[in-house]
């Protein structure tokens, strides 16, 4: 066991998988000589050469489509979105060809690809670099969506995503790359479709993902002091949701709080709320509650930015009200 930074955990995963299978390759902007804008592919260019770690021109839709064609003909590409927001330019290829092509081809082709990169609201990066694409891509059929939150799950999920034969959209978070913790040594895999029960509790279930896991953990410290026993679940898989784990928890706590960083309208929480209502209506003591970012372009100003996304104190307040039945 050794302390590993999250970006290095991802790098280790990619390195190990590239060593294990020569068909695994990386493509994207500045992934090669520069080592990736967050250093997730540092030194891999020297180790594996310019074809396996391919520096592409700035042409998101075309190089994503190229990854699709490469996957259809036997390779297992990992596409880096320098910032996940830039993949708005690749929406065509991700939706039509990564997501739908296996189906429209009647099973002729499989598209084993990983599309990974930093998402989420950073620190005063401005509206365009602070987008949460997971919500925009959520309706696309045929793709799996995961969001990592710790060095341990980053590594295990990256390895699983690379080995999966389906397209996986893999969300990292700009503010989590320097998280550090002891991670298991060597080859370990996390299931792509399993939520992580971060903390067991009996009073209120909190469902969250990505960076908000850490905001929730802060809130849980306070809530524990205040006598609220939270069950904290990191969704990990945003598509499909691990409804088994979610349902089991709600049957125990009868109260659910959803905490997310994406916008409220058409967000991950919106879909989750609908599913919780469908699956767990009779188990709920109070209506499910959702804490989401404001429906606005993320402002540059630091104070306004903080007001845009959910803060730990809001989680504390909402959980207490849920617990007291006063919401």
């Amino acid at each position: 066991m050794a302390e590993t930074l999250l970006f290095n955990a991802l790098r280790e995963a990619i390195d190990e998988e590239m060593a294990r299978d020569p068909h695994v390759c990386v493509m994207g902007e500045d992934v090669g000589q520069y080592g990736g804008s967050y250093k997730v592919t540092k030194d891999l260019y020297e180790k594996y050469g310019e074809l396996r770690v391919l520096d592409t021109p700035i042409a998101e839709n075309a190089f994503t489509g190229m990854a699709v064609g490469a996957a259809m003909t036997g390779l297992r590409p990992i596409v880096e979105g320098m910032n996940m927001g830039f993949l708005l330019l690749a929406f065509n290829q991700i939706s039509n060809n990564m997501g739908m092509l296996r189906y429209t081809s009647g099973g002729n082709f499989t598209i084993p690809t990983v599309v990974r990169g930093p998402g989420g609201v950073g620190r005063q990066l401005g509206a365009e670099h602070s987008q949460r694409l997971e919500a925009y891509f959520h309706a696309v059929p045929g793709i799996k969506i995961v969001a990592v939150s710790t060095p341990t799950n980053a590594k295990g999920l990256m390895k699983a995503a690379i080995r999966d034969n389906n397209p996986v959209l893999f969300f990292e978070h700009v503010l989590l790359y320097n998280l550090s913790e002891d991670i298991p040594a060597g080859d370990y895999i996390c299931a792509l479709d399993q939520a992580d029960v971060v903390r067991e509790g009996k009073d209120v279930t909190i469902l969250t993902y990505s960076r908000m896991r850490h905001h929730c953990l802060k809130a849980v410290e306070q809530l524990t002091k205040d006598g609220v026993d939270v069950e904290l679940i990191d969704l990990i898989s945003l598509k499909p949701f691990d409804m088994e784990t979610i349902t089991r928890s709600i049957r125990k706590t009868h109260k659910v709080l959803i905490v997310e960083e994406c916008m409220k309208t058409g967000g991950i929480g919106a879909e989750l709320m609908a599913l919780v209502t469908e699956h767990c209506f009779d188990d709920l003591d109070v209506r499910p509650v959702r804490l989401s970012s404001q429906d606005i372009p993320t402002p540059y100003n630091g104070t306004l930015e903080n007001l845009t996304i959910i803060q730990p104190h809001q989680i504390v307040d909402a959980a207490k009200q849920l617990h007291a039945g006063t919401i």
Partner: protein, 383 residues
């Protein structure tokens, strides 16, 4: 003189002219009012085309080309009939008139070795690749025996077995996929050390598609990495109702290759031997690791954009000009003239094709529908 030299000559001549406005007048380029003559600018381009070296074919090759083009034509005619009889639905884009391109390029490539990528106008490309007519017609009828299991339809024909990367219904989105297949060829050779990896990919698309970003993005990457790919432009002058000359700053698409430092060639797309000759040169370069080519084939579609298009915009004189250059008749005449086949032999082929087309319809009509309980099958790799 190569095509590149030729254009150079044309350009320098123009440059030598004293008054630049004279050049514009002489070229007949209108401000934006469409064609100047009855047959149109596209036809004039064909008439002024510098002849390229055509392929020479043996009797067997000639008959194979004739058979493939005839199959393409008769299959499409049958599709129109079936569409109007209510046997197929949706948008159906026929290929009549353009057969020399599909046959000229694909039959110059290695079946089940090289890769092919098409658009929504994909029936005939699929047939040239070797996808059985039964599988293509079944797909158009939405049957389980279709090459895409009835899930794709006319615009989404796929066959991994026949290396058909697919029909793509959005403009330009197939080009990057084709580029990816070409990348795999190079990757296998240079990263995996497989010296036998020499597959070439052909991407087919229209004139209108040459105005979208993905086309240029892919030209850049293909040239940059010397990928074994042919960008086959089927310039039929029209993008639904948009005249090519009203849509693009330089209608000579093959010239755009030069900006990316790659080979470009224009060819009479109504002459299968001319297309085959140009394709053979491009394939040879690609296989030798010398990189990509833009091959612009001047052609014309004999029918409307799709079976839903009333085709009211195109001038009769223009249609007539191109109809006289029917690529199948032209090949037939060539084969007879060069004593490679007799008229009777060609007739016999046509009869065989008619039987094959009738058989595929019968097969498709009797074929089973996909099972309702398999509605969600093929979403994931595991099922």
């Amino acid at each position: 003189m190569t095509q590149a030299d030729m254009s150079q000559a044309k350009t320098s001549q123009a440059d030598a002219s004293a008054d630049p406005t004279d050049v514009l007048a002489a070229s007949g380029a209108p401000a934006c009012s469409g064609d100047v003559s009855a047959v149109g600018l596209h036809a004039e381009r064909l008439l002024n085309l510098y002849p390229s070296t055509p392929a020479t074919v043996s009797r067997e090759e000639g008959l194979l080309l004739y058979r493939d083009m005839t199959l393409g034509r008769r299959f499409e005619d049958k599709c129109a009939e079936m569409y109007y009889r209510g046997k197929m639905f949706g948008f159906v884009h026929l290929y009549n008139g353009q057969e020399a391109v599909s046959t000229g390029v694909i039959k110059a490539m290695k079946m089940q070795h090289d890769w092919f990528c098409s658009t929504y106008r994909d029936h005939v490309h699929a047939l040239s690749c070797g996808v059985p007519a039964r599988e293509v017609m079944s797909e158009l009828f939405g049957k389980e025996t279709g090459c895409s299991k009835g899930r794709g339809g006319s615009m989404h024909l796929f066959s991994k077995e026949h290396h058909l990367l697919g029909g793509y219904a959005f403009i330009g989105e197939g080009i990057p996929v084709a580029l990816g297949a070409a990348f795999t060829s190079r990757y296998k050779r240079d990263a995996l050390g497989d010296a036998s990896s020499d597959a070439v990919t052909a991407a087919f698309f229209g004139d209108g598609t040459c105005n979208i970003g993905q086309f240029y993005e892919c030209l850049n990457m293909a040239a940059l990495w010397k990928l074994p790919i042919l960008f086959v432009v089927e310039n039929n002058k029209w993008a639904i109702g948009m005249d090519h000359n009203r849509a693009t700053s330089d209608p000579e698409i093959w010239r755009k290759a030069a900006a990316f430092g790659m080979h470009g060639e224009e060819v009479d797309g109504m002459d299968v031997l001319a297309v085959r000759g140009a394709a053979q040169r491009a394939i040879e370069r690609a296989r030798a690791g010398e990189g990509p080519t833009v091959l612009e084939c001047l052609t014309y579609r004999f029918r409307g954009h799709s079976l839903a298009d009333p085709d009211e915009l195109r001038a009769e004189a223009e249609k007539e000009f191109w109809a006289q250059r029917d690529p199948i008749k032209r090949l037939g005449a060539h084969l007879i003239e060069h004593s490679l086949a007799t008229a009777e032999e060609l007739k016999a082929i046509e009869k065989e094709i008619d039987a094959e087309v009738a058989d595929c319809v019968e097969f498709a009509l009797a074929a089973p529908e996909p099972k309702p309980e398999e509605l969600t099958r093929y979403i994931w790799a595991e099922d």
